[in-house]
């Protein structure tokens, strides 16, 4: 690692009073972006998609994350698996479009076939025409590469290098904090799903999401009832940070009817809601009547695609009788998230200013952002490859 980059990481990892934010190169430099892929994403549990994208046994949904071809597969036992979407023979992409696999996954090149559990089932003509076996081809050693995957609040998390601690260990603090939401969530359907393309490095979206400091200026509508002083910081050394509010008001429809709440919530959640970033790239929000999840897909060093999905506590909330209410709720969140775009894009452009040193944190208001910078800096410093 370049000496000055190492120094910049060390500065970002200092206590907040003396720290400097991550420097410009962490937002605009392609080489740093490539290093992040390994140090910050592939070695960690990162969000790549949603369980609702492969809802039925046999569903196979391809996706590409930071160039890595992945395949979400719902197997016959209803378990969601993630494979590298690459044939073990010649490296061909196996599945190009989402589909339901009736039997096996067949490579479109030479028709090697894999079961939904990833096992190699057939290698047609591999020993010559009409000969489907060869001594050097051991089926049980040539299954698809399976990627460790976990589902949490509807998000598919993967650990691509296979070396991270178990998800439930790494995020035990969060899982405990939100234990009352550890139950099935029901995706609201098409009207509860949207994407935002933003011209900023993915980290700026995390940083802006973590903190409540900006609320009075950027979200005046929210601030009219959820004031800055109604918020509290949430910090963890185990890889998440964010904020909570004490005055959550559910979206209500006609006759003041709202969504059904999650069962058995404690009184705290009557008026509280919490918003946490799970580092590196998943933003979650929990409320008594719904949750949302944002997977940040870095599409380049300076661009990010935000995949936003809203979930509800009960299957009945997906019924057509709740269409208007779900649309209103999605519209509300979309407006809030769009209000943030000029900020994150402005910070991205600001990082072309060569004199910017990464910024000075408020020791009171920027704790969550600093927590994230520390986390990134530590992962980058410990990346020895």
């Amino acid at each position: 690692m370049k000496a000055n980059l190492q120094q910049e990481l060390e500065r970002a990892a200092r206590p907040i009073e003396t720290a400097t934010g991550l420097s410009n190169s962490f937002y605009i430099d392609d080489d740093v972006f490539k290093r992040e892929q390994r140090a910050v994403f592939f070695s960690q549990w990162c969000g790549v998609g949603f369980a609702k994208d492969a809802p039925n046994p046999g569903d196979a949904t391809p996706l590409t994350f930071l160039g890595m071809p992945l395949l979400l597969v719902r197997d016959r036992d209803n378990k969601l698996r993630v494979f590298q979407n690459t044939c073990r023979h010649r490296g061909m992409i196996l599945v190009e479009e989402a589909s339901n696999i009736g039997g096996a996954i067949r490579c479109p090149y030479h028709s090697w076939c894999y079961g939904l559990d990833g096992s190699l089932k057939s290698t047609p003509h591999v020993g010559g025409p009409g000969n489907n076996a060869h001594d050097s081809i051991k089926l049980d050693t040539l299954g698809l590469y399976e990627i460790r995957a976990e589902i949490y609040l509807g998000v598919v998390f993967v650990n691509i290098d296979g070396k991270a601690d178990k998800f439930e260990v790494q995020q035990s603090e969060l899982i405990q904090r939100w234990s009352e939401f550890s139950k099935p969530v029901y995706h609201g359907g098409q009207d509860s799903s949207f994407k935002l393309e933003v011209n900023c490095n993915w980290k700026l979206a995390v940083e802006n999401y973590c903190e409540s400091y900006h609320l009075p200026w950027i979200h005046p509508g929210l601030n009219s009832y959820s004031r800055l002083e109604d918020h509290y910081n949430i910090l963890s050394e185990s890889g998440h940070a964010g904020q909570g509010t004490l005055v959550y008001k559910p979206t209500l429809g006609e006759a003041n009817l709202g969504f059904k709440d999650f069962d058995n919530l404690s009184d705290k959640w009557d008026s509280s809601a919490e918003y946490l970033a799970l580092f590196p790239n998943v933003l979650l929000g929990v409320h008594r009547d719904h949750t949302f999840a944002i997977v940040l897909e870095p599409t380049s060093v300076g661009t990010t695609l935000e995949h936003v999905e809203l979930f509800y506590a009960d299957e009945a909330m997906v019924d057509s009788s709740y269409d208007n209410l779900r649309r209103d709720n999605a519209k509300l969140w979309k407006e809030v998230f769009k209000e943030d775009i000029f900020v994150v894009e402005g910070m991205q452009r600001g990082r072309q200013g060569v004199q910017f040193d990464g910024g000075k944190f408020s020791p009171v208001m920027d704790n969550a952002t600093h927590c994230f910078h520390q986390w990134v800096a530590n992962k980058m410093m410990h990346d020895t490859a």
Binding site: I101, G102, G103, A104, I105, R106, S111, C113, K121, S122, P124, H125, P129, G130, N131, N132, A133
Partner: protein, 83 residues
């Protein structure tokens, strides 16, 4: 593999044309049936290599489709030491 034209298609009602149509149409079930037809035809004639070639294609498609014939096709190939 080269297959002699005289043994290839003459008794199978224009198999190659039907296979081509099924392929263009993306009809894998039809392709599977036609490959099986060809494979069994050649096995009956004693053309083991050609028969196993076609049966392999039928088997692979049956696997991909999750067709009930998959085990039977596999067993036919296994009888000739081809899996």
């Amino acid at each position: 593999m080269s297959v002699e034209p005289s043994k290839r298609d003459s008794d199978l009602g224009g198999l190659e044309q039907r296979l081509l149509r099924a392929t263009v149409a993306g009809d894998q079930a039809a392709q599977m049936r036609l490959y099986r037809l060809a494979g069994e035809h050649h096995l009956r004639l004693g053309n083991i290599d050609q028969g196993c070639f076609y049966l392999t294609n039928a088997w692979v498609l049956s696997l991909a489709l999750g067709d009930v014939s998959e085990q039977e096709l596999r067993q036919k190939l296994a009888r000739h030491g081809r899996v």
